[in-house]
Amino acid sequence: MSRTGVDTEVAGRTPGAETTRRRRPAARPLSREIVETRVLGVLKWVTIAFFVVATIFPFYYMLLLSVRSIEDLALDPGALWPPRGVSLDAFGQVLRGVDDGGQGFITFLRNSGIIAVGTVVATLLVSILGAYAISRLEFFGRRQVHFLFLAVYLFPAILLAIPLFVLFTRIGLRGSLLGLTIVYISQTVPVTIHMLRNYFVTVPASLEEAAALDGATRLQIIRRVALPLAKPAIMATSLFVFMIAWNEFLFALLFLVEDRGRWTVSLGLSQLSGSIEVAKTVLMAGSVILTVPIIVLFFATERLLVEGLTSGAEKG
C-alpha cells in the first residue's frame, strides 16, 4: 500500500509533471488521484484472486488427492489434476468397517451425527428459554448474566478439560457419547443465547402482549408466538451449533480416544493420520467425508449465519 504512495510522489516530481503543473495548477492532486485509483483498482483484483486461491485451493487439493491412488501420488506429487483418471476406491475403503478391511468411518459418521444432533436439540431447548428470558423479561442481573456466559469463552479449553476429565472418569461418563454431548451443550449455550437474544430484541413485543391479554401462559406465548417468528434465527443457530459439535476435537480426544467404536469422524481422522499403515489418499477421502456436510450446510445458510453472528457488530 505505502509503495504506491511513494511511486505517485516520485511521479509527481518528474519533469513532465512539472510542466503540466505550470500550465494547470490543479493537475498534481488530480494526477495522484488518478494514479492511485488505477493502481488500487488493479491491486484490488490481484488481491481478490490471491484470497480466493488461498482459501479454495486447499479444499481442491483435498478433493484431488481423495480420487488419486497413493502410488500415483508418490510418482507425481506436483500434479494439479488427476493424471491417471479418477478413482473412488478410497471412499469405499475409508467407509467400510475394520472387519471388511476398511477404516470404519461409517461408524464414526454415526457417532458424530448422534453427538451433533443431540447437542443441537438440547442446546436449543435450553437456550431458547434463556434467550427469551434475557430479551423479554426484567429481572435482577439480566444484563450482566449475558456477558457472564460469554466469559466462558475466555478460559483456555484445556483448563476446563482437566476437571471434566477427572469428573467424568469418576462418574463413569467418560467414554460415552452422552458425556461428550453434555460438554458440547455447555460450550455452545453461551453463544446461542447471544445469537437468539440478538434476534428476539429486534422482534416487537406487541404480538406477545396481545397473546398475554388473551390469557396465554408464558410457555404458550413462547411456543405459539415467539418461536414461529424466530424460525430463521433458530435455523441459523442450529446450524452453527451443529458445526461446532461436528468439528470439535479436544474433548473428543480426551473422552473417547480409548474405544475405536466411539470415535467421531474428527477423532478418527486425527488418530489414523499419525499411522503409517493408512495411505494419505485414503485419509483424504476421510477428510472429504468430514468436510462436505459442513460446507454444504455453510453454503446453504451462509447469509443467515453471517447475520446471526455479526448482528450488533456494525455499531462497532
Partner: protein, 328 residues
C-alpha cells in the same frame, strides 16, 4: 443440582406484583442455562484450582476422594522450574502476537477489497470464510500433506520450479536456513508454519467483523474528503481507518485470547514438536503423557494467570493511553 438459584422453594403467594412475577419467570426460564453453565463450566473451573494444589495422578483417579490428599505447592514448583517452561511461554507469546496481527491484517485487506459490490461477490465472500468453518482436523491434515517432504505439493513445486536441493520437512524442522542475497539466516521453520496456518485459518473471523463495520460506515464523510481532494489512500488513512479502530481493537483482544489458549491447531500440525510447544500443548502432555493431573491443572492456571495479567496491562496502558490521546 441444588445450586440452581431457582426460587422454587418459596410457596406461590397471591398478591405478588407483576414485576416480581416477571422476575421469577425470568429466572425460571434461565435456570436450565444456569444449571448447565454452573455444573459443566463454573464449578469445574473452580475445581481446577483445587486440583492444582493436590498430588493427583491419572492412575489414582477412580480411587481418591475429591478432597483426598492434603494441599501442596509442589505442582507449581514442578511446572515453573521444569526445563522448557520458559521456552513454551516464549513460543506462545510469539505465536499469539504475530498470529493475531497477521490474521487481523489479512482480514482488513480482505474486507477492503470486497467492500464494494461486484459480480460474484457473494461467492468470493463465502469462499473467504471456508478456512474458518471447515473442520479443524480436516484442514490441518490437508496442510500436513501439502507440506509433506515426499508427497507434498509444496516440496514438489519447490524442487521442480524453484530448484530446491533438499526437501524441507516443514512441520518437523526446528531451524531452517534461508539464504538471502548470500547471507544464511536461521529461521524457526515449524513455528513460522503454525503462525502462517493461524493467519490463514482465522483471518475470516476478522474479515467478517471488519466488513460488517465497513458496510455500516456513513458514506458522507468519505464523499466530503473526496470533494476536498483527498486521494483513495489518504481517505483510507484518515477517514476509514480511524472509524475501524474500535472493531480492530476488539478483534485484537479476542484473537489474542483465543490464540494464546490455542490447542487444536498446534497439536494437530506438529504435536508441539520442533520448537512449537505452546503452553496448552504442554498442559495436555502433563495430563496424558505423564499422567500428572495436578501438574497439568497447575500449568493451565499459570496459563490463565499470564493471560489475565497481559490483558490487564493492555487495558491499563494501551486503552487508557489512547483515550487520553483522544481527549487531547
Amino acid at each position: 443440582m441444588r445450586e440452581a438459584p431457582l426460587p422454587a422453594a418459596e410457596a406461590p403467594r397471591r398478591g405478588r406484583t407483576l414485576r416480581q412475577q416477571e422476575a421469577r419467570a425470568g429466572l425460571a426460564l434461565l435456570s436450565p442455562t444456569l444449571i448447565v453453565v454452573l455444573a459443566v463450566v463454573v464449578l469445574p473451573i473452580l475445581w481446577t484450582i483445587l486440583i492444582a494444589f493436590q498430588r493427583l495422578r491419572l492412575r489414582d483417579l477412580r480411587r481418591s476422594g475429591i478432597l483426598g490428599t492434603e494441599l501442596t505447592l509442589r505442582n507449581f514448583e514442578t511446572v515453573l522450574t521444569s526445563s522448557g517452561f520458559l521456552d513454551a511461554l516464549r513460543v506462545t507469546l510469539i505465536y499469539s502476537v504475530v498470529g493475531t496481527a497477521l490474521s487481523i491484517g489479512l482480514g482488513l485487506v480482505a474486507a477492503l477489497v470486497v467492500r464494494k459490490p461486484f459480480r460474484g461477490r457473494t461467492l468470493v465472500r463465502a469462499s473467504m470464510l471456508l478456512p474458518y468453518v471447515a473442520p479443524v482436523v480436516a484442514v490441518t491434515f490437508v496442510w500436513e500433506v501439502l507440506l509433506h517432504p515426499e508427497l507434498g505439493l509444496v516440496n514438489a513445486v519447490g524442487a521442480d520450479l524453484l530448484g530446491w536441493k533438499d526437501r524441507i520437512p516443514f512441520l518437523d524442522q526446528r531451524t531452517g536456513t534461508l539464504s538471502l542475497l548470500g547471507v544464511d539466516l536461521g529461521v524457526p521453520t515449524a513455528l513460522l508454519v503454525i503462525i502462517a496456518y493461524q493467519a490463514w485459518r482465522y483471518f475470516p473471523f476478522s474479515f467478517l467483523f471488519i466488513l460488517a463495520r465497513l458496510q455500516a460506515l456513513p458514506a458522507d464523510l468519505d464523499e466530503a474528503a473526496r470533494v476536498d481532494g483527498a486521494t483513495p489512500l489518504q481517505r483510507f488513512r484518515h477517514i476509514t481507518l480511524p472509524q475501524l479502530k474500535g472493531v480492530i481493537a476488539l478483534l485484537a483482544v479476542l484473537r489474542f485470547i483465543w490464540t494464546f489458549n490455542e490447542f487444536d491447531d498446534v497439536y494437530l500440525l506438529t504435536e508441539g514438536g520442533a520448537g512449537t510447544e505452546v503452553v496448552s500443548v504442554r498442559v495436555f502432555r502433563y495430563l496424558t503423557g505423564r499422567g500428572d493431573v495436578g501438574a497439568a491443572a497447575a500449568l493451565s492456571l499459570v496459563l490463565a494467570a499470564v493471560l489475565a495479567v497481559l490483558l490487564l496491562l493492555y487495558f491499563r496502558f494501551f486503552v487508557g493511553r489512547s483515550r487520553d490521546a483522544e481527549a487531547i
